[in-house]
């Protein structure tokens, strides 16, 4: 109304603002302007005007009442809207995490909303009733703990149990205990249980990542702090792991642990070209959802958290070093008839050949003397430089966290050079070792292990900026030796042969160093496998910790009798899962 008034003049505005009452002064003006004949208002006029005023007032009031009545009826019919009170105070800060999926998009870890049981001690009527009834639903919640949580009546809040299942929450609700309440919270679910638990890592009670890929998510700023249970809208993190291959590896390794009565086992399948880890298993496994398992020493991740002297599988590296120097060829003769004496320590072979061996035969027969002589010919400095070049002496880290750094000998003299040549005196984590081995068979370029499918590594390899660490010819020669070790029937790895695919590899049986020297019967037997040999795509490393001689192995504990056949069973099972076509060329 206001703008219209302004344009039509002051008097009208006055009139409008005072309703329909015409003030004497104004009416004079109006009459003067209109008729030039001032006529005093008659009684009739006054009555008429008041009637109109009353009519208008009645109409307005009537309409207003009608509208209010109508609205009341409408609200009554519609039902009253609920009252909502928004609590914006940050009570408990939670963390919304994106899902973790495998390379094919299968869920490995995800947030779900679960009910947590809380209590308001000041409202609780009967502590004894709660401490008696609640354990009927939650048997592991002791009455004493409930009494302790509810003892302080001045408090308004106490957690009783976080992360209830829907069924448990319902049962507790049905108990009808005053003072208890539920609060929805984000909880991390690991639907696969122990599968890949070591790599996934785990979170704390507030959903914050503590280890493994979960900690990586926090570091990569993919985790949002939230108030209340709101799920993360971020895209899932895609790992390089394959749930199917991971399970096949777990299944075969636990079978191997039973067969060979080993205390523990570890296995890894890695893309030889990109370093993407397709499966990584350390048994006994770890369930990220069970907090107590994290501190059990036997459940340590043997692939990354421990360093081990891996034994003769190291000869692959020694041979690569010798061949890459250009001074030794696969057919170079090495005289292994005499035992090697270095710094007063005798080095001998378990089964001496009795005649000179070629470099290839040193590899196939796994001759310690031969490997030692090849390493001595290179010298300690060259060996150190070569191991550094392929990444075996410097600490390494992956997305799943830092890898246990290699334990190098304090003094690196001739005797250390010889022992390292066959895998003693230098302890590395299996993950670091397999990454170095991948470079030996993939044409010679360095490999950085990764657990992400679309990480920086993939981009790096696609762009072609590969770091060459050994010559392609050396890599080819190493492949031939590894293939011959399995396929020729002369090597230690004959039991790793798989029908339908060409496999290469190297065995290693390492005595475990204990207090005051090596323990005779306690070994780690490992098999480093490569397939398919025409164009290596995958490398595997299977390690059995302290296997026992069984009738199946003829009472032996060497890798050729346990780790090699276990690798064969693993490869046979995962070849179709990896999309490789078994070929009838390989019987």
């Amino acid at each position: 109304m206001a703008p219209a008034n302004r344009s039509t003049g002051n008097w009208q505005a006055h009139r409008a603002s005072s309703g329909v009452i015409i003030t004497p002064g104004l009416s004079d003006q109006t009459l003067n302007r209109g008729t030039h004949q001032p006529a005093p208002p008659t009684a009739h006029d006054c009555r008429r005007a008041s009637r109109i005023r009353a009519l208008i007032a009645i109409t307005v009031m009537g309409l207003a009442f009608l509208a209010i009545g109508g609205q009341l009826v409408r609200l009554a019919l519609q039902g009253q809207n609920e009252q909502h009170i928004a609590m914006s105070a940050p009570i408990a800060t939670a963390f919304a995490r994106p899902d973790i999926v495998d390379r094919n998009g299968r869920l490995m870890a995800g947030d779900i909303v679960m009910q947590s049981l809380v209590a308001d001690p000041s409202v609780v009527l009967d502590v004894e009733e709660i401490s008696a009834k609640l354990p009927t639903v939650l048997p592991d919640l002791s009455p004493d703990r409930i009494r302790e949580a509810l003892s302080d009546r001045s408090k308004r809040f106490a957690w009783l149990r976080r992360g209830l299942s829907t069924a448990e929450a319902k049962q507790i609700h049905n108990l009808g205990l005053p003072g208890l309440d539920f609060r929805p919270e984000l909880r991390r679910a690991y639907p696969l249980g122990r599968s890949a638990g070591h790599i996934l890592g785990f979170v704390d009670i507030d959903n914050k990542g503590l280890a493994g890929i979960e900690a990586y998510l926090d570091k990569a700023n993919s985790v949002e702090p939230v108030h209340g249970p709101s799920l993360s809208a971020r895209p899932p993190l895609r790992l390089s792991l394959d749930v199917a291959v991971q399970f096949a590896l777990e299944d075969e390794l636990s079978d191997a642990m039973r067969r060979y009565e080993a205390k523990a086992a570890s296995g890894i399948v890695m893309d030889a070209v990109t370093g993407a880890v397709v499966a990584a298993v350390s048994l006994p496994g770890l369930d990220p959802g069970i907090a107590d398992e994290r501190f059990e020493k036997s459940r340590v991740d043997r692939l990354t958290a421990g360093t081990y002297e891996l034994g003769s599988v190291f000869k692959t590296i020694t041979l690569a070093m010798a061949l890459d120097s250009g001074r030794v060829g696969p057919e170079s003769m090495i005289d292994v008839r005499q035992q090697l004496e270095v710094d007063g320590y005798p080095i001998r072979d378990g089964h001496p050949a009795g005649h000179p061996l070629t470099a290839t035969q040193v590899f196939l027969k796994s001759s310690n003397v031969g490997a030692g002589m090849l390493a001595l010919a290179q010298g300690a400095d060259n060996q150190k430089a070569f191991l550094e070049r392929i990444g075996l002496t410097t600490p390494m880290a992956t997305e799943a966290g830092p890898v246990a750094p290699p334990s190098l000998p304090a003094r690196w003299g001739d005797i250390e050079t010889v022992t390292i040549s066959y895998g003693h005196g230098l302890a590395v984590s299996p993950l670091q070792f397999i990454a170095a081995s991948a470079a030996l068979v993939n044409g010679g370029h360095k490999v950085t292990p990764t657990f992400l499918r679309d990480g920086d590594n993939a981009a790096g390899y696609a762009a072609g900026n590969r770091i060459q660490v050994i010559r392609p010819e050396t890599s080819r020669a190493i492949r031939d030796m590894m293939h011959a070790n399995v396929a020729s029937g002369l090597g230690t790895g004959a039991r790793a042969a798989v029908p339908g695919i060409s496999v290469g590899g190297k065995t290693g049986t390492a005595e475990i160093a204990g207090a005051g020297g090596y323990r005779e019967k306690a070994v780690i037997s490992s098999f480093l496998g490569v397939f398919p040999m025409e164009e290596p795509r995958y490398v595997t490393l299977v390690s059995l910790f302290e296997p026992t001689g069984t009738p199946e192995t003829g009472g032996e504990i060497t890798a050729g009798r346990n780790a090699a056949p276990a690798t064969a069973r693993i490869i046979e099972r995962i070849v179709p899962l990896l999309g490789l076509l078994p070929d009838k060329k390989h019987p």
Partner: protein, 95 residues
């Protein structure tokens, strides 16, 4: 002039009612939006739980057991052929 005034007054009242109605309608809509958002949130939560349950139920460990009970075994090399078939007579299909 009177008529104009009356019309203006009624127009004012009418627009006031209209405004009131629109205001109420807006509040109703906002409430509806809030309810739908809650439903979406609930659906998201349900989806998250269902996804986790599906992943738990379809874990290879469990499927393997069921498959073996049905008499299925892991694929063997005889069950694979190169595609397209280069020589049907030599392929595994022909046998």
């Amino acid at each position: 002039m009177r008529i104009l005034m009356t019309v203006a007054v009624f127009a004012t009242l009418a627009s006031a009612f209209a405004l009131y109605a629109v205001n109420y309608e807006t509040r109703g809509l906002a409430e509806e939006v809030r309810q739908r958002e809650q439903k979406i949130e609930k659906a998201h939560r349900d989806i998250a739980i269902l996804k986790a349950e599906r992943a738990h139920l379809s874990r290879p460990e469990r499927i393997g057991e069921h498959a073996r009970a049905l008499g299925l075994r892991p694929a063997t090399r005889d069950q694979f052929v190169a595609y397209p078939l280069t020589d049907p007579l030599q392929s595994n299909v022909a046998r």
